[in-house]
Symmetry: C2
Subunit: 303 residues, 2 copies
């Protein structure tokens, strides 16, 4: 299983020549999930040679422009380039009307089916689930309705220990149930425990995306032990009050969440444009949670 | 009087790393007019160090995304950077609802007054007029409602010939009327013609922006003798049928309009992405109208 995240943009609010608003691409076994889509995201995808026609699911955390102003352009380009396969958008309900109005204004009927899934405002639920992955929303505490997303790989089938199968003379038609963790009962009625016959496959990956949000301790349980946490860090710790007022977090707050949730790795982003150099911000986070990294456009994290 | 046009983007349809959708900035005596605003325009303005807070008037030709998807981001950035002076948008009426919806979705009340002026769909009228400039819309023939724009400097006052004023003993309080072209009648009742006492100041500049449009001969009278014509040239001449179907023009058609309207200079743009090299397209235009130039991002034409 491959599980790989590419950062396309990680600045807050205002795009500049070198700072791109929020967008990330998650590749789960060659299935591509776009998370947020600030202005210029389609060009960032091209820059990093990531085909946007392979994206089938787009998750928009909230309707501040730095998280979605690039979406309508991306949808249009997909159309103009001849896409015909389904696309699914998960976002707050106002976005549907915004998209529809813009398509109507240009007399555009998309060549491809566009499914719009409304994010609940208060409830956490499974947004998408199949044999390989489950995605749930996480209610964040921002200045408008805002969702984080937890991407969880499904547990892959257990691995058969061939020598044990032969030793216990397990018939071929029982192999699938063994892979799914079922014990085997032989003709004599003896129970052979599954872990005698199989081993655990690699542990499934879990990625939590949390932008934009105030510091909220209720997050900790929800993202416990994830392999990777992206947590917004708009401000350094001296601007804790400003973070609270504007619905954002500080370097220390993000790291505290990571530490308390015992995540494996933290990447921070959504930096305020006031910070030209991010070394001190990183140092503040690392003082609480050592395994912290700055996100930057083009960064790829292979799980 | 300065009259200067900067091309910010001149590609059609789909933005890429090196191709930017349509946007232009016209500087008339340090008053800045933005014409169209494709995705990424705010970053292009930054790249060429053109302060977007000095723009007070934005003209949007039509509601295909490559001409306006960058507008909401620009308006938001103006707000976030503390603008408080008026901004005027001239566009087709659907755009107002699109902007309002997006501002509402993010709970944004702009810090500055935003005036929306609806472009007429069939009628040509003065959109803006003051002592220095007049802007009128030009109805174009595209696949949806589309406007070109004609920017005309006002005729500046005539220049006094000091020696003649002394010779004819013209009193000081008549100077202003002389500057405005009025003849002078002396105490003896003799008429002294204005052109004996004054000279014409420099001729006012005129710029016509025509994108997107089919070839239409009715344009010719409207843009007669302009100093500069920007005319879209989406296709080369072999795709004349495709141009007709999609509401666009070819290299030869744009140049024919320029030639028949006796404009001083033609710049072409809005190239289809199929053309990687534009030399042949330029040659086709130049075969009809020699004084043709390719537009490119960063190009500045000083009138």
């Amino acid at each position: 299983m491959s599980f790989k995240l590419t950062i396309l943009g990680c600045s807050s609010a205002i795009p500049t020549v070198n700072r791109h608003p929020t967008a990330q691409l998650l590749n789960v076994n060659e299935r591509f999930f776009l998370i947020d889509c600030g202005e210029g995201t389609q060009v960032q995808l091209r820059k990093y040679q990531l085909s946007f026609q392979r994206i089938n699911h787009i998750f928009i955390s909230h309707l501040h422009g730095d998280h979605y102003f690039g979406l309508i352009g991306l949808l249009s380009s997909m159309h103009l380039l001849g896409r015909n396969k389904e696309l699914h958008i998960y976002a707050h309900e106002e976005l549907k009307q915004i998209i529809d109005l813009q398509l109507n204004a240009s007399n555009t009927e998309l060549n491809y089916p566009l499914f719009f899934h409304i994010l609940p405002k208060e409830e956490e639920t499974i947004l998408l689930e199949d044999n390989n992955i489950k995605v749930v929303n996480i209610i964040l505490d921002h200045s408008i309705n805002c969702s984080g997303f937890l991407f969880e790989e499904k547990r892959t089938p257990r691995k058969i220990i061939k020598s044990q199968i032969e030793k216990y003379n397990v018939p071929f038609d029982k192999i699938n149930s063994l892979k799914n963790g079922v014990d085997w009962i032989n003709q004599q009625g003896d129970i052979i425990c599954n872990n005698v016959l199989t081993t655990e496959n690699s542990l499934p990956n879990r990625y939590a995306y949390c932008s934009d949000t105030r510091y909220q301790e209720t997050l900790i349980e929800k993202i416990k032990n994830v392999d990777l946490l992206y947590h917004e860090t708009t401000f350094m710790q001296d601007l804790e009050d400003r973070a609270e007022q504007t619905g954002h977090s500080t370097s220390v707050q993000a790291a505290t969440i990571a530490q308390k949730a015992k995540v494996k790795k933290l990447i921070v982003g959504h930096y305020s444009q006031r910070y030209k150099n991010l070394d001190s911000l990183l140092e503040e986070s690392k003082s609480i949670f050592t395994n912290t990294f700055l996100s930057f456009p083009g960064m790829t994290i292979d799980f």
